[in-house]
Subunit: 156 residues, 2 copies
DNA sequence: ATGAAAGCTCAACTGAGGTTTAGATCAAGC
DNA sequence: GCTTGATCTAAACCTCAGTTGAGCTTTCAT
């Protein structure tokens, strides 16, 4: 076959809706791999369209690029992910979302119990004294809360 | 005046579980206010323990510091938030969490429809072609709200 | 063979939510 | 008074998920 089974970065960008700069970034992060022309330009396989699509979907489901890279690493590199691959992954994602929903519902319950009680006491408040830390998120080293069982505020 | 009502930054940190650096950061962001000793050290009111606690709780519910500052600005500065204050805030939080849960449940449904179909086609996939973009926030890092803890740096 | 379009690299920047570091000063116990 | 630990400021640094820009090079259609 001719070289039409390889696509340039701009076409991959157009097909996926992702910016060219983002595709270079994904390559740098090891999410996708590129061949190179003699002149040094990237050329991608058509299967990479689906790989990039998977990145977008998984991102929307809350996975970090690092986690996505982990999933993609278990996928065959040179072919389109098939139904079995996707079933395995989507089942895992399903469980993940279920856990998120459950965490939020627990929060909701605690909040309901708190409305009107004004109980912002660290010692007693169910919202504060939680194990699951429902929505901890974001970048950078976080100070880990809790574990000061000895001497927490009682009186305000 | 041995029995003081004012507490030093280290004590506020210890009582809330927040790092001293974070408390200074919150002060710089206008979330809390500090008095100063003649020597220039910060001294906080005991009510600030609850203000900081509120910051932590609201963060767990997904509010940004800017949003939290907005809520705190409407609270009385010099006293502990009372039941009425908390009722107003927690009602708003309740609606917010309900929306998050609804978004995740829609995602879950779409994912359920996709399991096994291998349909990572951008044209058709309901997971990819969504209007709500479930919990996408801001132009920078994208993260879904909800549990992403797991491997936060644990440093001594 | 040419000229526009697309590609290349590398570095710097964004913004949220902080932490780390350096060097100096303050507060308090003995 | 001395020493020790807590605190001060300011600026630099960190992650994540990219974007932007400068300055060149390659590719492709004519």
């Amino acid at each position: 076959m001719h070289r039409t089974d390889l696509i340039a970065i701009g076409e991959l960008a157009a097909r996926t809706g992702v910016a060219v700069s983002a595709i270079r970034f994904y390559e740098a992060k090891g999410l996708i791999a590129a061949l190179r022309t003699r002149g040094g330009q990237r050329r991608f396989l058509r299967a990479d369209i689906r790989r990039v699509s998977f990145v977008l979907i998984a991102q929307q489901l809350g996975l970090s690029l690092e986690e996505i890279a982990g999933e993609l690493a278990r996928l065959p590199a040179e072919r389109t992910p098939n139904a079995a691959d996707w079933a395995r992954i989507s089942t895992a994602l399903h469980a993940r979302i279920a856990a998120q929903i459950a965490a939020l519902e627990r929060t909701q319950q605690l909040l309901g119990a708190c409305i009107g009680c004004g109980c912002l006491s660290l010692k007693k408040c169910g919202l504060y004294n939680r194990e699951d830390k429902a929505a901890q998120r974001g970048a950078g080293p976080r100070y880990l809360m809790g574990d000061r069982s000895g001497e927490i505020a009682e009186r305000a």
